[in-house]
């Protein structure tokens, strides 16, 4: 058992975790942040995607011990402080970038991380960036349209390059 302090959606949590316990299990089973979904459990489907220090990772592969003093953003923590949806969330709703919704939290977080690095993506860029997120409903076209719409919204709102997610009050490990 190993003690860690992680910052989930800006909130500090002191936990004692097993060496092989995944971030996914900590988020869902201990912190009750069940917006993060388990799909394949092996890193192929991307349903469990969350952000660690602003970067997309598969939380089913990422070990909880490696989140010590890091900022984790789940779908519950992506909206703005005032409750307004993040532009990526708004775009997915507007463009119907979802059907059953199971892959959606992962899709949205992978998109938010990708757009923080690429303000003006092509459809091809978006397809490559989301290659690690599977959707069995939509056929992907509305998802790619949502990503491009989200990029436009971020540009219009002057939020390009912004790191998605709430910041913890304490600086995380470099």
């Amino acid at each position: 058992m190993h003690p860690i302090t992680l910052f989930a959606n800006g909130e500090q949590h002191a936990l004692v975790v097993e060496p092989l316990e995944t971030l996914l299990s900590v988020l869902r089973d201990r912190l009750r942040l069940t917006g993060t979904k388990e799909g394949c459990g092996t890193g192929y489907c991307g349903a469990c995607t969350v952000l660690v220090d602003g970067r997309a990772v598969n939380s089913c592969l990422y070990l909880a011990v490696d989140t010590d003093r890091r900022e984790v953003t789940t779908i519950e923590g992506l909206a703005d402080e005032d409750g307004a949806l993040h532009p990526v969330q708004a775009a997915f709703i507007e463009r119907f970038g979802l059907q059953c919704g199971y892959c959606t939290p992962g899709m949205i977080l992978a998109t938010a991380a990708f757009l923080s690095d690429n303000a003006e993506p092509t459809a091809r860029d978006a397809q490559r960036a989301l290659a690690g997120n599977l959707c069995r409903c939509t056929g992907y076209q509305p998802i790619i349209a949502s990503v491009l719409d989200a990029a436009a919204r971020l540009r219009e709102q002057g939020r390009t390059g912004e790191r998605p997610g709430k910041r913890a009050r304490i600086r995380s490990r470099a």
Binding site: P19, L20, R55, A56, V65, R128, G132, N133
Partner: protein
Amino acid sequence: MQYFEPNFLDEALVLLDRFAPDSYVLAGGTILAPHLRSGPADGTLVNVKRVRELHEIEVESPGVLRIGALVTARELSENALVLAHAPLLAAAAGTVGSQQLRNVATIGGNLCSGISSADLCVALLACDARCIVAGGPTGPIALTLDQFLNDRLGTGSRLMLTAVEVPACSANTAYQKIQVRQAFEIALVNVAVAVEIASGSIARARVALGGVAPRPIRARNAERHLEGKGTTARVAQTAAEIAARDDAKPSTDHRASAEYRRHIAAVLAQRALLAAFESRPVGAR
């Protein structure tokens, strides 16, 4: 499962030695963690992420880029030193897995994975990379990547890959892979090429192939054919045919037949050679 987070390399090596053969080095964990979860849950996990030097990328001596074993695929694809000194490695790193995996998977893990078409491994073979292996009785040793792949450090080893050294060369390079999807798929076959061209002829050639043997290999017959020749389409085609016929030793598995792998090896080697002939050498900018 016992767990340690050493701060220093020496500590990590003592732990690996003390608990071998049930000790495991934890780097990115994308391969190791699911493997350990599906097997017996005892043993000792040595998480080496607190060891600072394993994260570093630096020009060690003039003309040698030293890359710590924990550097991720994403860092390799973006780092200014890697882009300047080893663009072939940066190009291959940008094609590893998905965005999510590139953020986590490490160069050390890629080289120790045993996957015969590991992207970074194939690129590094064409770069004449050396592997720094620590934990032996005489201290750290440098092995060519070819030797390293022969000796393969399995899990439970007392030894640890700590860094990869990439010598500078003024080569034209290219990386090609083929996969069932166009992204996020293990390559069926991949090819990395580095050719040094002096006054119109090939002074030195490196052709590395993945997915056509139990481990990534150098296509030495193709390399011998290239050296001394001009950079023509005919030379590229013949060398690619030699690589596929004489160097590749593919076998059939659930993903592709041996015949298909051999055919694709020739196609990709030819494409990579032509692209390398056309490319600008490292440093010529």
